[in-house]
Amino acid sequence: MANKSGYAAHLRTYLTGYVLSVVLTIAAFWAVLAVGRENKSVLILVGLLGVAQLAVQLKCFLNVTTQKEGRDNLALVLFSTLILLIIVVGTAWIMGNLAVRMHTTM
């Protein structure tokens, strides 16, 4: 435990996070530029890489953990994500549907 809370260990956490983030970022850029805009499913890959990077940064930079002392933060982040998803997915669904239903005669 002492090993995990030293200066070096903390630095290592940040460096690990950084290296992983850089790799994930480059992967995302590479994927888009290599595949191009013709194949829209590349966005799924970009999305997965983005989510992975979010997770890495939350863990390594923002120190969101499942440990007891960070439970409040974790609960907060999860709840916020839920609301965020409701809002963003709901909006995209509704407005997408409306766009289709309003321009069909054109």
Binding site: I86, W93, I94, M95, L98, R101, M102
Partner: protein, 689 residues
């Protein structure tokens, strides 16, 4: 944007009075009267303050105070002032519709009335009243010394009040928006409404919205992190649960509103195309954003009122709250569900039936936990000993009337029916039915309930009950006819109508509005009479109602540090348990120094500066806007250079206060509930069971 001079759009014609001179009509006369009232009242208040030489006290005790109790009281005073204006506007609108088709107002004037009425009642009456009561009562109920961030609390009040003042200014200079409280573009966009009206709306909403968000953060952190020792979540009074849920709604529901208002502002000021007709703008996005906020907002307001009702039913039935866990679950599920129903405000926009079905069913689902709450309150009274005090009359009125509002809500949740009654007076009747009995009655009940704690004396109960009856009656007379008129197809926001079928409904509604006016007057009379008789009705011991939660365990009015010794909680009805086990009114074992936050002028400074900023933005006075914006940043940065923000209340002072109070307790006679509203009640409750 350089087409205006150094005073922007502002000139002599902006004054409401110059319109009366150029066009001496009844409508302009009414507008000028309103403007005059604002000016005269301002001058009168400033004059009185100077006359009684209370500026110093006002500054040091109130305007710079960081005490949550004082901030709460200031919020409530602000809300009551705004409520007076909002109600009077309601009366004028009722008079106009009762007089139709020969009304006395111009269409645009009527439109300003319904826009300000809605904006004020939601953002500057309901919200600050709720926030004020929460500010006062919640930290006391959880056994805390203050809210988590006292200066932030002050800032929230500051920007809310500044926005309210901006709305008052709009009565005198320029005109307000005519687009309703929801301000749908493109009608409120720059192309169709080039005046200053929508700008007034935008800035008032953005700033007060920011204040509300910060309040939500403050309350949430207070409840999660500042509870007294032993107060587990499931030992919190019901009111605190509802406040927690409501604060979470403030945090997550206000941003969509701010975004919507700001985007509308970008369209108007910088020629963006979020909601314009041309170049790919999409006004449907606005409706979507506005109601993403709008629906949670309703629960943001009504949940704390539910909390107050829970306290009131339990206290005045002298019984534990029935179904505590059910109520908690119901509250929390309402909180989450309220984020999943926003589309029901625009069922008729043309989306596919699947979407309407999903949101319709989600909407109806909210009726389940709400229904559970109603039954729980009934079960709380069941096998109790019910006292018909003022808060209780409000609560019973609420119980019956709110069920009707819920009924019309379930009806409106059906897209099929909504296609017919959307945008009609049926809808108006429904949301007033929810907001008046649901929110306002709760707030007035809370006002009567906690008043003795805040000021040390009881309000006159007889006048209070009269007031409550008048509210109930006035509400029913005003809004039940609107259900009928709505079903017959009368659109909302009609300043006139040719179909005389509606006339009798409007006449009854007008009578109702007059009763509501009487109710408002009776509130003032109650306050004045109670002030006059205050010496007879003092409750220094602090427990006038045989209360059940911690706020009743301290003197009235509460000391600035709230608790001489922070309590240790062992039960849900902590104070009742303490009284029964003889743990109440004990001296602390040891007195300690208490640190409280120092007074801080930041709130007041930000109030003034943000007021100026908003006014400058509304009138395109760019230099002034820039200066005040920079000044705001400088003021905030400067305040971070205050290293020493605490003030210590010495243990000796705490000891002296407490011993004096305990002495008083010993001298006082405990009274039974039959003498609750007599001078014999000094706030020392006799154990009756």
């Amino acid at each position: 944007m350089n087409e205006y001079g150094w005073l922007g759009k502002l000139n002599w014609d902006s004054l409401v009075f110059s319109k009366l001179i150029t066009d001496p009509s009844v409508s302009e006369f009414v507008a000028s009267t309103a403007g005059s009232i604002v000016i005269i009242a301002t001058v009168a208040i400033l004059g009185l303050l100077t006359w009684f030489r209370v500026w110093g006290t006002l500054w040091s005790e109130w305007l710079t105070s960081t005490d949550h109790k004082r901030i709460g009281i200031m919020y409530i005073v602000f809300a009551l002032v705004m409520m007076t204006r909002g109600l009077l506007e309601g009366m004028v609108m009722r008079a106009q519709q009762a007089a139709a088709p020969d009304g006395f107002l111009y269409a645009d004037h009527f439109a300003q009335l319904f826009s300000t009425h809605g904006t004020i009642m939601i953002f500057f009456v309901a919200v600050p009243f709720v926030v004020g009561l929460v500010n006062y009562a919640m930290p006391l109920q959880i056994g805390a010394r203050d809210v988590a961030f006292p200066v932030l609390n002050q800032i929230s009040l500051a920007v809310t009040v500044a926005s309210g003042i901006l709305l008052m200014v709009s009565l005198v200079v320029g005109e307000f928006s005519t687009g309703g409280w929801s301000a749908y573009p493109p009608y409120t966009g720059g192309d169709f409404n080039p005046g200053v009206g929508p700008d007034y709306w935008i800035w008032a909403i953005v700033f007060s919205g920011a204040g509300t968000t910060l309040t939500g953060i403050n309350f949430t952190v207070t409840i999660i992190k500042c509870r007294a020792a032993g107060m587990k979540f499931f030992r919190m009074p019901m009111f605190c649960w509802t406040v927690l849920c409501s604060s979470i709604l403030m945090i997550f529901a206000m941003p969509p509103l701010s975004v919507a208002a700001l985007m509308l502002g970008f369209d108007r000021y910088l020629d963006f195309h979020f909601f314009t007709n041309d170049l790919g703008g999409n006004m449907m996005n606005y409706a979507n954003l506005f109601w993403l906020f709008g629906h949670p907002e309703v629960y943001l307001l009504v949940l704390p009122a539910y909390g107050i009702f829970s306290e009131v039913f339990s206290t005045f039935s002298a019984k534990r709250l029935y179904g505590y866990k059910s109520l908690v679950i119901a509250t929390m599920s309402i909180g989450v569900l309220s984020f999943t129903v926003w589309l029901h405000h625009f069922f008729t926009m043309g989306q596919s039936p699947t979407i309407n079905i999903v949101f319709g069913i989600a909407t109806m689902l909210i009726a389940v936990p709400t229904g559970v709450k109603v039954y729980d309150w009934m079960a709380t009274m069941y096998r109790g000993r019910i006292r018909f005090t003022t808060p209780m009359i409000y609560s019973i009125g609420f119980l019956i009337l709110f069920v009707i509002g819920g009924l019309s809500g379930v009806i409106l949740a059906n897209p099929t029916v909504d296609f017919q009654v959307h945008n009609t007076l049926f809808l108006v009747a429904h949301f007033h039915n929810v907001l008046i009995p649901g929110v306002l009655f709760g707030l007035l009940a809370g006002y009567n309930y906690w008043f003795p704690k805040a000021f040390g004396f009881r309000l006159n109960d007889k006048l209070g009950r009269w007031s409550a009856f008048l509210w109930v009656l006035g509400f029913m007379l005003t809004f039940f006819p609107l259900y009928g008129a709505g079903l017959l197809g009368m659109p909302r926001r009609s300043f006139s109508y040719m179909d005389l079928t509606f006339k009798p409904y409007m006449l009854v509604a007008f009578v109702g509005a007059m009763v509501v006016l009487c109710a408002l007057i009776s509130l003032v009379v109650q306050l004045v009479v109670s002030l006059r008789d205050r010496d007879k009705n003092r409750v220094p011991v602090g427990d006038p109602w045989d209360g059940r939660s911690l706020e009743w365990s301290i003197p009235a009015p509460a000391p600035s540090y709230n608790f001489a010794e922070l309590p240790r909680v062992t039960d849900r009805d902590e104070f009742t348990e303490a009284k029964e086990q003889g743990r109440a009114y004990l001296a602390p074992k040891v007195y300690r120094d208490i640190e409280v936050p120092k007074n801080n002028p930041l709130g007041f400074i930000l109030c003034v500066l943000s007021g100026i900023l908003m006014f400058a933005l509304v009138w395109y006075i760019w230099w002034l806007a820039l200066i005040s914006a920079v000044a705001i940043i400088v003021a905030v940065i400067a305040s971070t250079f205050r290293w020493d923000s605490e003030r210590v209340i010495p243990a000796s002072q705490v000891q002296e206060d407490t011993e004096k109070w305990l002495e008083q307790v010993k001298k006082s006679r405990a009274v039974g509930r039959d003498l609750e509203n007599t001078p014999a009640n000094v706030g020392y409750a006799k154990l009756e069971h």
